[in-house]
Point group: C2
Chain length 350, copies 2
């Protein structure tokens, strides 16, 4: 990185769950900001937000707002990205988009810096940030892939409600209190706000995240499947997913089964490879009941991996428990990492 | 069943979470009871319990208490079963044991009536009731096995706290209220009361049920593996499990991946086979967001199956979401079903 370079940054969706973590991450990482513009829908325009000791006013996101912007972080839903990301690019900004709008676009790199930072060189204005549940899994898969190759992945997720937004977090806590009070509840948002039916999330496990596709999988499950193949650059990798929403505020957990190309590695070998993996903290000691937990991962940028075991039958099969803060590495932190990589690789800036 | 036969029944562990459901199930199923004796540790002796309009007093479980007993239901922990089940058998009772004490004993049938009722003929006094998480899975696997054969099973569980006893349920609710009140918490029971460390269960997912074994799997995971092979009478079946405790009161959910011997069945075929399966209610219609939920399974005896999908890569691979009340089909209901089967098959009685 050239010293003392600074950037004009715009953040679309500053008032959301991920937007708030983006602001925090920009400060925590001391990202070299020259100016910061907070943009939103007309509804949220006018709100005041604290940033690094200053009070900023949220403005309505319009095409003209992106004049002079170097980096535009989008996290305000797919429709907003579809409409405004091309406008930002037209005006010279590089867009880092945290929605699913462009993830499967062949011309758009889908990037987790620990895994496929190189793909950033191919960008044509828009870079997609993967889905939260995908990011933490591919961080854990990458070192195993490098060491042994990957054949098949089966994942069952244990996902937190903050992935569905701040409203879903409020719904969970309110509903929980109502149940403790033995009051009636009226679910309105979860599992999927725009879907027809809504179910109790408190003290329950909902096997639906996002809407169903024609093949019986949910959109969240297909995101994990398709994004994993794209990020790992292996369209022949077998991936299937079952995605489940839990009454956990923040921190996705995943039970991941992996079959490798090469056989013969012990669980200890795989632990060793994971411990050296970029962005990973290994927490794996049954003797001291050490394993990753959502409540402990919250607020931290790492991907935590534990419960590493060899499959009881397949000599090239392994089971992992993978936990990460879905708002940080799963969203905001990864987006800001992408911005840092763009600077480090000389893709933006002087 | 010979008409008007009645039985002297003893219940060891009547004050526990499962014991209470056993009493309820005996009434709900109108099990032909001549006399009912409630037994427990000295600590709980003297307690009064309502049963079918009568008030019964819990007595201390001693060998002599089993004189004249036809059927002894045990659900008071493995140590009690180890000590007293042989005493009951010596006095002529048939023991149906809901602990893990005898499950892997080659001379003890391990029975889920919908799957292997025939094994009851081999009993030598003790019959073991399988672990809750195993029972609901094998009920779902059995019709698939019959139709297509089974090669491999990978399960990730989403288990309710009532499986850890009434104390664990209290801990979950109290801790939840403390967190909502922003008070400090002090976990004392979960994930495993007798283990060294205890973690927050409220708004969390704990990847440990029962203590760790030398191979890195927990005892709960190995129960699922070994019991599934025994009940399905297939020691070469590949089974691996990851068991996770959730802040759900009652109702275990399971994400199950199955590879069949025969290929070529569609998800619709598998749904058809499951819909006809004994003890199963299929709840599977993505168009109406119909899938099994722990909160809806609570209090019902069925095993609910949904989210049936073909694996995206293996043409003989299928994913299922399996939910059941862990205290009923997972414990009390299955135990009373075993008693009914013993009568129906003429193994006990005249």
């Amino acid at each position: 990185m050239t010293k003392n370079q600074t950037f004009n940054v715009a953040l679309v969706g500053a008032t959301g769950a991920v937007g708030q973590q983006m602001l925090k991450t920009l400060v925590d990482k001391s990202f070299p900001i020259r100016s910061l513009k907070l943009l939103s829908s007309p509804r949220s325009a006018g709100k005041k937000i604290e940033f690094n000791g200053e009070t900023l006013t949220v403005e309505e996101a319009t095409p003209e707002q992106f004049e002079g912007v170097d980096i535009a972080l989008f996290s305000a839903g797919g429709a907003v990205s579809k409409k405004l990301a091309p406008e930002a690019v037209k005006r010279g900004a590089v867009v880092i988009d945290n929605t699913s709008a462009y993830r499967q676009d062949e011309e758009v790199p889908l990037v987790v810096p620990e895994v496929n930072e190189d793909d950033l060189h191919k960008h044509q204005g828009i870079i997609a940030n993967p889905n939260c549940s995908t990011i933490q899994m591919v961080v854990a898969l990458e070192p195993i892939k490098k060491a042994y190759g990957l054949k098949k992945v089966i994942v069952s997720t244990y996902q937190a409600v903050s992935g569905a937004g701040l409203g879903a977090v409020d719904e969970m806590y309110e509903q929980t209190q109502q149940i403790l009070n033995e009051e009636d509840i009226s679910p309105e948002l979860l599992p999927v706000s725009k879907d027809k039916k809504h179910y109790q999330i408190a003290f329950n496990a909902l096997p639906q995240i996002d809407v169903f596709q024609d093949n019986g999988y949910t959109f969240e499950e297909m995101k994990m499947v398709n994004e994993t193949k794209k990020i790992l650059r292996d369209s022949s990798l077998a991936v299937s997913a079952t995605c489940v929403r839990l009454p956990v505020e923040t921190g996705h957990s995943e039970s991941v089964y992996v079959e490798t190309e090469k056989g013969g590695a012990t669980a200890k070998d795989v632990q060793g490879v994971l411990a050296e993996g970029a962005g990973i903290t290994l927490q794996d000691d049954p003797a001291t009941q050490t394993y990753p937990l959502a409540t402990e991962a919250k607020g931290l940028p790492d991907v935590f991996v534990g419960r590493v075991r060899q499959d009881l039958d397949a000599e090239n099969g392994y089971h992992l428990w993978v936990v990460s803060d879905n708002l940080l590495k799963g969203a905001a932190y990864n987006s800001v990492q992408i911005a840092e990589s763009l600077v480090k690789l000389g893709i933006i800036g002087l």
